[in-house]
Amino acid sequence: MTNLIELRDVCLRLDEDFAIQDLSFEVREGEIFGFLGPSGAGKTTTIKLLTKQLKKQAGEIFLMGESIERTKRSRYDEIGILSDTSNLYDRMTIEENLKFFAALKNIPGSEVAEVLKNVDLLEEKKRPFKKCSKGMKQRAILASAVLHRPRLLFLDEPTSGLDPATSQEIHKLLENLNQQGTTIFLTTHNMEEADKLCQRVGILNRGKMIACGRPRDLKLEFAKDEVEILTTDREILRMKKDREGAARIAEIISQEKCLTIHSKEPNLEEIFLQLTGREF
C-alpha cells in the first residue's frame, strides 16, 4: 500500500524548545489516521509542517511519494485542509462561499449542489454564513475543503466545540469520504472519536510519538493480564489469564454461576494516561 505521508526523524524547534522531536510515522493511502495527543503536543505543528506552513529543521518528509521540498504547488490541489482556524466569508451565503472555492479550485459550480447535499446544507444554501450555527459553519467549511474530492484530507480538530449530534454528522461525512477513497489525517484530542473513526492512530506527547498502531492492537498491547467475571451472586471476580485462572473460570461456568465475562482492555484515553501520566 502506498504511503501518502511519511516522516523520518523530523525535528522542529520553536522558541528554543522542541515542538517536534525525531518524529517518524507514515499514513497509508485509503486509511483514516488519527493523530492524537493533548493540547500543545505538536499535532497542529505537524499539520503545518505537512502543509508547508512551517519548515522542518531536520529529518525528511515525503508527501505523496515526493520529498516535501520538491513538492510542486499543483500537488496541493490534490489536498484538502480544514485547520482549527479555517473560516468562510461572513457576508456571503453558504452557496456563494462554496461557489467561490469551487471556482478557485477550477471545479464546475454545478458540483456545489451535490456537496451541499452531502453535508446536509442544501436547504440552507441561501443563508448568510454569519447567520449560521456553529455546526452549520463547520459543515460548510468541511464542504469547502472537500469540494475537489481531495486524495488526502487534513482535519485539525474537526468536531472541537460541537454538540454530540453535529459531531455524529461530521463523523458520518468523514466515513463516506473515506469510503470514496479519500485518505484522512485527523488530529484530535477526542479519543472516542479516534477509536470510532480511525484504522490506525499515533499518540503524540511533547512532540514525540509514543505509540502508533491500530486502536485494537494498542488496546491489546496495553490490556491488563486479567479477566473480569460477574457472578450470579453479583460478585466481581478478577482472574489472571493463565492456566490457573482458566481452570477457575471453567469451574464457575460449569457451576452456572457466570453472568458476564470481560477481558480488561483499556480505552485509548487510559492508554494515553498510562503512557504519559498526563490529563487531557
Partner: protein, 239 residues
C-alpha cells in the same frame, strides 16, 4: 513564484462583491462622491479656477479610498482567518495581494469617473484624467496594502491608516494657506496628482510643474513597491 491569472480573476470577483457589501469600506467610496455633489451645488457660484473643486475632491478620494480599501480588506481577512483558508486552498500571497490592488484600483477608477462627471468638467479631458488618476493612485494603494500587511486586525489597520491619510491629505488642503504645508505637499503623491489634474484643466499639462509632480509620483511608486516587497518577504501575508 507561479501566479495563476485564473485564480486572480476569481479572487477579484469575490473581493469586488465583498467590498460592495462591506458598509465600512464602501462608505469611503461614497463620501468623496457625496462631497462632489455637495460642492457642485453649494460652491459652483463662487469664483474659483476651473478644476479646483475637482482636484480637492480627488485628493479626498485618493487618501480615503486608496488607503482604506486595501488596508481594511487585507486586515479583515487576517482577523477572520479567511486569508488562512485561502492560503490552504492553494492561493499564493501574491495572487491575494494582486487581487486586492486591482479591486482597489477599480473602485478608485469608478469613483473618480463619478466625480469627474458630477463636476461637469470638459469631456475632452477624460482620457488624460483616467491615466493621471490611475497612475497617481497606484503608490497610495500599494501603501494601503502595506498597512494591511503590517496590521494584525482591522482595529490596528485603522490606527495605522489615519496618520498616512492625514500626512497625504492635510498638506494638500493647506498648501495654499501655509508655506510649510505647501513645501510638504510638494512631496506627497496626493498633491502631485492635484497639481497634474490642475495643469490639465488649465491647459498647462506640458509644463515643468507637471514634470516635477510626475517625478514625485514615480519616486512614491518606487518607495511604495520597495516597502511592499520588503514587508511581504519578511512577514508574508498571513499572521
Amino acid at each position: 513564484m507561479d501566479v495563476s491569472m485564473r485564480k486572480i480573476g476569481v479572487l477579484y470577483k469575490k473581493d469586488f462583491m465583498d467590498i460592495l457589501k462591506n458598509v465600512s469600506i464602501s462608505i469611503s467610496c461614497v463620501i468623496p462622491v457625496f462631497f462632489a455633489v455637495l460642492y457642485k451645488y453649494l460652491f459652483s457660484e463662487l469664483p474659483m479656477p476651473e478644476g479646483y473643486l475637482l482636484s480637492l475632491i480627488l485628493a479626498l478620494n485618493l487618501t480615503m479610498g486608496a488607503v482604506m480599501i486595501p488596508a481594511t480588506s487585507i486586515a479583515e481577512e487576517k482577523e477572520k482567518h479567511t486569508l488562512r483558508t485561502l492560503m490552504l486552498s492553494n492561493v499564493s500571497g501574491l495572487e491575494f495581494c494582486v487581487s486586492k490592488l486591482l479591486v482597489t484600483s477599480s473602485f478608485m477608477l469608478i469613483t473618480n469617473l463619478l466625480i469627474f462627471f458630477i463636476m461637469s468638467v470638459k469631456i475632452a479631458w477624460l482620457p488624460a484624467f483616467i491615466v493621471i488618476t490611475v497612475v497617481c493612485a497606484f503608490p497610495v494603494i500599494v501603501l494601503g496594502a502595506v498597512v494591511g500587511l503590517a496590521a494584525r486586525d482591522q482595529m490596528t489597520a485603522g490606527v495605522y491608516e489615519i496618520p498616512l491619510m492625514l500626512v497625504f491629505l492635510l498638506p494638500t488642503i493647506f498648501a495654499d494657506l501655509n508655506k510649510i504645508a505647501g513645501i510638504i505637499a510638494d512631496f506627497t503623491p496626493c498633491h502631485a496628482m492635484v497639481q497634474i489634474v490642475s495643469n490639465l484643466t488649465t491647459g498647462e499639462l506640458a509644463s515643468t510643474d507637471t514634470l516635477l509632480a510626475a517625478v514625485v509620483v514615480i519616486a512614491w511608486i518606487i518607495v511604495a513597491v520597495a516597502a511592499f516587497v520588503a514587508l511581504f518577504r519578511k512577514k508574508g501575508v498571513d499572521n
